[in-house]
């Protein structure tokens, strides 16, 4: 990759950073400093704005680069992977968006504590939310580090480390100065850029094949060297039974985990009503679904135009498929069009990472300042100082994420994302579903549901081939691998639900009937919603 690419990509990315920093200063010019303002942007975003922000929050660089690369290399199995990310939104739409908007204020714990004893539940739900956020954040940081190496051609360790530190510093500035308002606008800008870039590339791919999808698929299959097998499942996940069950486990985690992701839940508090929350999800399903459909075209397009060998040569995981495709579609490596398109795609990928990490950092800081800090401290904090705590928490989360991002730089980013979804599905979803829908749920059940999902999910990963016992492990020298799957979802999600049930039936205190009535009435009608 030439210096030309680098300079232009850095310039475009610099423009994005300047614009987003301007947004941050502009929205924080007369801030009131209230918790409402900081965590929820004053709750006055429109469904369309929030829908774009959700799409911007959810479609990470892993989707743009990773998924397309997966399709370019393994064909249909990449598509199989993507479907779960979209179907997950049905769970969010049906069971979570409106009800959470009606019952909660800022975090997941708010919904649960309405029925329970506050302190233990806040500590439990806060801990699991922060865990999920940090895992997801580290995944994005690792992704950012490898992205700079891939796109700018600078593979030195120092360049990667400085990228991670730079991304971390920027996200802390956005979040601690601008709060939810700045974060939302950054996500909206990013979603527009991402969709615009994807639409342009998709049109170029389709033009190349004269709009003939069949010819596109045929060429992709021919060039892949796998023939028709390229268009059917099995090339990547079709190994032994462990690999197949592993994929089913991942699919389960994706579909159930989205509904428990703290940064997605917090987006529903930024609109005034449950009705607006529902309409934001409708918008985001349209945008996210459209984006993934185009990503599929781009993936097969990369296989057809470039061929998997060229993709693999640049990066063995296929992460550079889209930038390479963009360069080819623009007219090749030496043309102006190719240079510009490559730089645009690289800049969009960076913008994507920044927008996603800002959203997660904000959600994590809300969990720390709103759930953990007041529960772990004896003296209650006044609302004004809660925002101050949240700002400090954002800095702390940033520091932790940068440190872990540097330490974990050799871990696979896609694996970390899958793990974050699995923990979210095991620890956050059961407690949320039980509190909203189960009349007999008790405080002990809530605490057990969280820890009963969180501990097995993390424990099983420690015992999995990711950590030890295989050449690709974190510690290849030792072997304490007792669990064959990389993704714990298929075991830990049922365990989370089971633990919640067990904790409830063994608890001495009877469930609070009136509180359940309150949660039920409020969740479905919006009575008393803030």
């Amino acid at each position: 990759m030439t210096g030309h690419h680098q300079a232009l990509a850095l310039l475009l990315f610099g423009v994005f950073v300047v614009i987003t920093l301007a947004i941050t200063t502009w929205v924080s010019r007369d801030r009131h400093g209230s918790a409402e303002e900081f965590y929820a942007g004053g709750r006055l975003f429109s469904p369309m704005e929030n829908g774009f922000a959700i799409a911007g929050d959810y479609t990470s660089a892993a989707s743009l680069l990773g998924v397309t690369g997966l399709i370019a290399l393994f064909g249909y199995d990449g598509l199989l992977y993507v479907v779960g990310f979209l179907v997950a939104w049905l769970v969010v739409l049906f069971c979570v968006a409106e009800l959470v908007r009606n019952c909660g204020r800022f975090t997941l714990a708010d919904v649960v504590v309405a029925r329970m004893r506050e302190r233990p539940v806040r500590i439990a739900a806060g801990t699991s939310s922060v865990t999920v956020s940090v895992l997801y954040l580290v995944a994005q940081m690792v992704g950012a580090g490898s992205l700079v190496a891939l796109l700018l051609g600078d593979t030195s360790e120092a360049a990667r480390a400085w990228t991670v530190i730079g991304v971390g510093a920027l996200m802390v500035i956005y979040v601690s100065l601008g709060g939810m308002r700045a974060t939302t606008w950054i996500q909206i800008v990013k979603a527009v850029l991402l969709l615009g870039g994807t639409i342009a590339l998709t049109v170029l791919v389709l033009l190349r094949f004269h709009g003939n999808i069949d010819a596109l698929l045929r060429t992709a299959a021919e060039r892949s060297g796998h023939g028709q097998a390229f268009l059917a499942p099995g090339l990547k996940y079709g190994g032994g039974w462990a690999s197949r069950v592993d994929f089913i486990s991942l699919g389960l985690a994706l579909v159930l985990g989205t509904a428990g992701l703290p940064h997605i839940l917090s987006r529903f508090y930024t609109v005034p009503t449950a009705r607006a929350a529902r309409r934001s999800v409708v918008w985001s399903v349209g945008l996210i679904g459209g984006f993934y459909l185009m990503a599929i075209v781009l993936g097969f397009g990369a296989a057809a135009v470039l061929g998997p060998d060229a993709v693999r040569e640049s990066n063995s995981a296929g992460n550079t498929a889209v930038p390479l495709l963009a360069r080819n579609l623009g007219g090749g490596a030496d043309s102006t069009g190719g240079t510009v398109l490559f730089a645009v795609v690289a800049a969009i990928a960076f913008a994507t990472i920044l927008a996603v990490v800002a959203g997660i950092t904000l959600a994590a800081s809300a969990s720390v300042a709103h759930d953990l800090y007041p529960s772990l401290r004896r003296r209650r904090v006044a609302p004004r100082s809660e925002v101050a705590v949240a700002r400090i928490a954002a800095v702390a989360v940033g520091v932790v994420a940068i440190t872990l991002g540097l330490l974990a730089r050799d871990l696979n980013a896609a694996f970390l994302v899958g793990l974050a979804f699995a923990v979210s599905a095991s620890a956050n979803l059961p407690v949320l579903m039980y509190s909203l829908f189960w009349r007999g749920f008790t405080t002990r059940g809530a605490v057990w549901a969280v820890y009963g999902g969180l501990v097995p999910a993390l424990g099983l990963v420690l015992l999995s081939p990711v950590v030890s016992g295989s050449p690709d492990s974190l510690f290849p020298a030792v072997d304490f691998q007792y669990f064959p799957l990389e993704n714990p979802g298929i075991v830990s999600v049922p365990l989370g639900f089971l633990a919640g049930w067990l904790g409830t039936v063994t608890s001495a205190e009877p469930p609070d009937e009136a509180k359940h009535a309150e949660t039920e009435v409020r969740s479905l009608t919006g009575a008393g919603a803030v």
């Binding site: 199989l80 179907v87 939104w89 069971c95 698929l217 699919g251 999800v281 009608t525 009575a527």
Partner: protein, 167 residues
């Protein structure tokens, strides 16, 4: 799936037309947004006359509202859509993933040109997700929103000034 439009099986709200419209800044007017109908689907059932019970605390009010026919109707409409909808979509998704992992031969069967069963199923997942989203939003808008909003204001009216009630 039930029909979306048409008259409401619940007792009709006799006072619906006379009742003053709530001037509510939090409620985005029905006409805003795309593809919106005017929400004429179903009149809202009324909350039982509990207005005289001005004593007691908010917990009593919530129990009372939950027992009311209007709330039971809203809840059962919600459940009658969400439970089958979720069961159907999750079964379809899990079935798709499991089939892809256990019967790749079936998935590789050609349908037309380069398109095979797997492609059709994968794109089908996208289309059914869009369809379910549309159906849910429409069902909620036409069958629940009105009644839920009435319940919301009535409940807030009842809990106002009570211990543990809404502000």
């Amino acid at each position: 799936m039930e029909k979306y439009e048409g008259r409401d099986p619940a007792p009709a709200d006799v006072g619906a037309s006379e009742r003053p419209r709530y001037d509510d800044p939090w409620y985005d007017a029905l006409a805003s947004g795309w593809g919106e109908t005017d929400g004429t689907g179903s009149p809202a059932p009324v909350v039982p006359p509990a207005r005289q019970e001005r004593t007691g605390d908010a917990a009593e009010v919530y129990l009372e509202v939950r027992r009311s026919e209007a709330f039971q109707e809203v809840r059962s409409r919600y459940r009658r859509f969400v439970i089958p909808g979720l069961a159907l979509s999750l079964t379809w998704y899990v079935g798709y993933v499991v089939t892809a992992q256990t019967a790749p031969g079936l998935m590789a069967r050609p349908v037309a040109g380069a398109v095979n069963v797997a492609m059709v199923a994968g794109i089908g997942q996208f289309l059914t997700t869009f369809l379910f989203t549309w159906a849910y939003a429409r069902h909620a808008r036409l069958r629940r929103d009105r009644a839920a909003l009435d319940l919301r204001w009535n409940t807030q009216e009842l809990t106002r000034g009570l211990r543990g009630g809404a502000r």
